[in-house]
Symmetry: C3
């Protein structure tokens, strides 16, 4: 695993243009769809109970994000997740706001219990909440970084490759562990930046089907683009525009910036 | 029809500032509202059963877009459509994702059956799906261009001016046919670009009340703005910003770029 | 009150980073969250009946915006509002589209009747509709400016600090009145600009807990940023990007532009 061929895998992604079925929150839908297109995959947003199973069955990956959940959406998420499992479509879960309300913590845990999740990715506070450690979130923002032992705990309980983002991102599937040190603090000033990262990661997941590798590839692709984007940005809004443009412009040289430590 | 006075009609639109009632998907709501304002019309997004009839009755046009539909929204779309017919308000339908799921194909056909639609506008795959030819969509993206005979088929079955977008856009109301050759491939990398086009077209429809002319005017205005916007863009996100700015800046000279063939 | 220390209060806001619970319309959710982050506060969007009470109880302010309302959302708004009152969390209401439909006018009035509102902020037409004067709205756009006597009327009936935006913004809590003369007409060409202003105002409200002062601070911070943003903008979309960037860059000198008259 110490020789991920990022560029080869991105070229493969762009060749295949996998369909990424999103059950995405209202806040980040537009940005998530746009970054998926910019990367080279094909997004669809669909939540109706009457169509999620059909659409999942033709998707390359399913991305469930609980950022603005309610009862009906939760049912659709579970239905889509089960259909994905049945069809062998990998699923990424972003437990947005786990730890901030019981509904979010419980919904995230319920989805992890009832659906086989390939990757669960959250900020430090959310992953800690999934591990049963509370008090480290402020709404949907994280107040702390998750250490690898907490990431391991979640990976063990739910059998999913687990990613805790932060200044250093931690990735574990218990057999392998990695730290990614790319990115910029400006990402915290853009709403839904984590949601966009989930779209990028889901696109790699649809391509390589190796959750541990896809998690690292998604982190690196998104965060090296962010590093380039922040140069010449005038604030968080121009940064977001540049971030999507830089994802579009990712090329072989971009990945020389990767700062990954496989443990 | 070989002498559309684009500039005169845009000036008239800006003078009247028609209210465009949108039943728009969640993904494109913000961009659709912003491009409507940039063009010179006045958007409103409203979906509650308790208010759609009242709001439609004061609108210049109703724009129904099924991009993120569910049972309740479908009921509101039908209710709004019937109210528009009753009040003589023209309706544009964008059958987003027709062909991708039964729900979308059937909903689009049901709206076309129960509501008198002035313009139905979709990408090639969606229009082909309405014509009963499947397999040419990938989620909400099109995999093929619709030929004029397919556009005619849909126009005949539903009695609506039909528009199939693509590298060449096809427009037909059976009595008249047109091809529009403006635009840029970058539009395919922006989510909801077709939805934004629908807002622009609906605004012209509210102004001129001639669906065939409004369809061409909407295509030309949107696509010449896109051609200017792509110059100097750094990727799809800066392109989208520039696209809305260029729609705002449309002037008499802009329409010299129009590449329209009336057949 | 003729010596508001804008900069001190903004520094305090950035130090505390209050959580602003939004029940926001779909159109403006992304921009509202981003401007809240850019200012220095922390947004959360949450509408599920199962979590609004819990989230309100940890928020610094609750911001209710009825821009895309329906039956379920209205129930959540009332539930969140009552929970805010119980927990001493101040509430800002934006009655988007009051006057455009009975549902919106009645919902705004119902929330004002059942929830103790610290600030009600709308455009001229909306505030006039709350005062029982109709015919001055076009969808969600205002066709007229509210005079101070109308603002007073609303302030008296509902016991809330009342803000009517326009070329000149009027603020009244009956004991004190102010006019703010900052801003740019470009704001009317950006959908949800009023919604973003509500986020900024709610963030100041969470910080100072003085509704009259927070209303003025929000208006000034937002509108001086807009004045700087419009310089060098190429149209409404680049203006919006610059607006959020300028809110991020607000500093001590920015407030020299404040044009406030305390009456």
């Amino acid at each position: 695993m110490n020789s991920i061929d990022y560029w080869n895998d991105l070229e493969e992604l762009r060749r295949r243009k996998p369909l990424i079925h999103h059950l995405m929150n209202f806040v980040a839908m537009n940005d998530a769809a746009n970054i998926t297109l910019a990367l080279g995959a094909s997004p669809i947003m669909a939540h109706a109970a009457e169509e999620v199973e059909e659409l999942v069955s033709i998707a390359g990956a399913l991305y469930i994000n609980i950022g603005t959940l309610d009862r009906e959406w939760i049912e659709s998420m579970l239905m889509a997740g089960r259909a994905a499992n049945k069809n062998g479509v990998p699923v990424l879960l972003d437990p947005v706001g786990a730890g901030a309300s019981r509904l979010r913590t419980e919904t995230a845990r319920r989805i992890l219990a009832e659906v086989e999740i390939s990757i669960v990715k959250g900020n430090g506070g959310e992953i800690m909440a999934l591990a049963g450690r509370s008090g480290l979130t402020k709404g949907v923002d994280s107040l702390g970084e998750a250490e690898m032992d907490v990431v391991d705990l979640v990976a063990r309980e739910f059998g999913a490759t687990t990613v805790a983002t932060g200044p250093v991102d931690h990735v574990s599937n218990l057999k392998q562990r990695a730290e990614v040190m790319n990115g910029t603090p400006m990402l915290q000033l853009v709403t839904g930046s984590g949601c966009m990262l989930g779209s990028v990661m889901s696109s790699f997941l649809a391509t390589s089907r190796d959750p541990f590798k896809a998690a690292i590839e998604g982190l690196v692709a998104f965060e090296v683009a962010a590093e380039t984007a922040v140069e010449g940005s005038d604030g968080p809004a121009s940064f977001k525009v540049r971030l999507i443009d830089e994802v579009y412009k990712l090329n072989k040289d971009s990945f020389a910036r990767a700062k990954v430590r496989i443990l």
